[in-house]
Amino acid sequence: MDLVSNFAGILLGGLSAGTVLFIVSVGLSVTMGLMGFVNLAHGAFAMFGGYVIVLAMNRAHVGFGLALALGFLATAALSVVLERLLYRRLYRANELDQVLFTIGLIFIFMAATILVVGPESQTLQLPPALGGQLNLGFIQYRTYSIFLIVVGFLIALGIWLAFERTRIGAQIRATVDNRRMAESLGINVDRLFTITFAFGSGMAGLGGGLGAEFLGLDPQYALKYLVYFLIAVSVGGLGSVLGVYYASLLLGVLDFVFKLYLPKGGTIFIYALTILLLLWRPQGLFGRKET
């Protein structure tokens, strides 16, 4: 009994962390798959959304649900402005310039956060309904973790359905597969990308808020978790929603297990596994092979 509940506890903890990773990374995966743009500043969008959500709750005393919506919308709006003004000038530039540009954006976000809000880390006050423990029959577990896992599953399902069943989803899949062909069939890739970019950044903002409770939220956030977002995306495969979902959950659970049993430097296995996996399948688990 003890073993079972121990195991379930690890699994739930890992899954909830992985869910947050998925919500943040899914936009990065799709936009990278669409445009091949190396957007290291994606974590900065997550940080921005997280700050909007936490500050709305702590300072303006907005409800949790409304704050989440606000965070999503604010991040999406900001990303559209940045995309229209700056990002689109670099679509045809080489990866190096894209890396440099997005590292620059990270620094600007970090400094702006310190200047506007301050260097101290922010804490998210959960609403009482999500704060307690939930009895699942075989285990007592934190309500918020269960909530995250369910929400993440619904989001993954929703995005997957949108990808498979809607017109715009079909257009995105077509563009990821073969951009030139999609363009010559009359798909407006430019507009498509702006929409996906806004949605993906909004999701990142949402994830930043949802994860603030256990990932913390401070001006270093944009850099601190960047490697994890990138691992989720590259292991899952560019442009694949299911791939990022599975990769994030796997990463979350593994990270949880290693940190629990090997508190000193357990992350070494995460990096080793990532290297092995990428050597075995350079395109990621669910990515299309380059032709």
């Binding site: 990866e95 190096l96 540009f101 620059g104 954006l105 400094a111 050597l279 350079p282």
Partner: protein, 346 residues
């Protein structure tokens, strides 16, 4: 025959020697007068700012590290965000040898650091360089993170997070001591190592090997088509670049007399990338310009206005990515060309 008389040519040299293109190509790798300037400036710095020699040796090491990255990234076009892996390997090689009292002689230590880093570069290059783009970027980051975590875990040997303090480094040639108060030896020693490494890199990039690297960067398909051993060239270049980064790391450990995990972290890898791109990659002297500008700004601004420095650096990077793709040197070249074009025009 009524053909116009053909001007006589020296038979041995061949007719192609008169072509302006041939002459320009032959002159390409000659030493120019201005190439002495950085070294004169370094010697001038030594006499003018005796209180800043510690900062000066830090600057020289940053130049060497950026130069090593230039070889892989600027010349061969290998996009990496994990170059600190080799800097750290070199630093830990020197650090471990000195701390555990195995070997403290500085010059041979540097050679060992270069060898250790070259081995890591060769081994990782053999497997990583099969990939491209984002996958390659991720693999370089993960390799570096792997080494960092390994150094963190092997606490008993590497000192873990705290690192190895107060390394005993023997005097250079048994005469010139590394003094923690006066960095004269550190500065001149770093300068000599940089000069040697620079001469090596300069010779290398103008050799046929270096030319083929540029070819791989510009058009990998064509290099495959003409039968160039692309993968082998890339791996060798990566290993050489790693060895030079290892020398830089070893120098860093010797001049600072300590090693810690910061030699292996993403921050260092990102900084050297910024330094190189700021100066201009693929042009030898970009590393010099980038390191001087970046470190001077970082040293004096970051201490007093850390947040403003971060903001300014961010804006600078964005502007460079948008408008000055080839860094400061590239910008200077463009301006110079425009100026001479305007003067040439009537």
């Amino acid at each position: 025959m009524s053909a116009a008389p053909v001007p006589a040519k020296p038979a041995a040299a061949g007719p192609w020697l008169d072509q302006p293109a041939a002459r320009a190509l032959m002159r390409r790798h000659r030493l120019r007068w201005w190439e002495a300037l950085p070294w004169l400036a370094a010697i001038g710095f030594y006499f003018a700012f005796p209180d800043y020699l510690g900062f000066g040796s830090e600057l020289l090491i940053a130049i060497l590290f950026a130069l090593s990255l230039d070889l892989a990234l600027g010349y061969a076009g290998i996009i990496t965000l994990g170059h600190a892996a080799f800097f750290g390997t070199g630093a830990y090689t020197v650090g471990l040898l000195a701390f555990h009292g195995i070997w403290t002689e500085p010059i041979t230590s540097l050679i060992l650091a270069a060898l250790a880093a070259a081995v890591v570069g060769l081994a990782s290059g053999l497997v990583l360089l099969r990939t491209r783009g984002l996958t390659l970027l991720m693999l370089t980051i993960c390799t570096m993170a792997l080494l960092e975590q390994a150094a963190n875990m092997a606490r008993d040997i590497t000192g873990g997070f705290d690192g190895l303090p107060s390394l005993p480094i023997a005097p250079v040639f048994g005469v010139f001591e590394f003094s923690p108060l006066y960095a004269n030896t550190q500065f001149l020693y770093s300068l000599a190592v940089l000069l040697l490494c620079f001469a090596f890199v300069r010779t290398l990039v103008y050799s046929p090997f270096g030319q083929s690297l540029t070819g791989i960067r510009e058009n990998i398909l064509r290099m495959h088509a003409v039968g160039s051993p692309v993968r082998r060239r890339l791996v060798i270049c990566y290993a050489i670049s790693a060895a030079l980064a290892g020398v830089a790391g070893g120098l860093w450990a010797q001049t600072n007399a300590y090693v810690n995990l910061s030699v292996l972290d993403l921050d260092r890898a990102a900084t050297v990338l910024i330094v190189l791109i700021l100066g201009g990659y693929g042009r030898l002297y970009g590393a010099f310009v980038g390191a001087v500008v970046y470190l001077a700004l970082a040293h004096f601004l970051a201490r007093f206005y850390p947040t403003a420095w971060q903001l300014g650096l961010g804006v600078l990077l964005v502007l460079i990515a948008l408008f000055a793709r080839n860094g400061i040197l590239g910008l200077g070249e463009t301006l110079l060309r425009r100026y001479t074009a305007r003067r040439a025009a009537p």
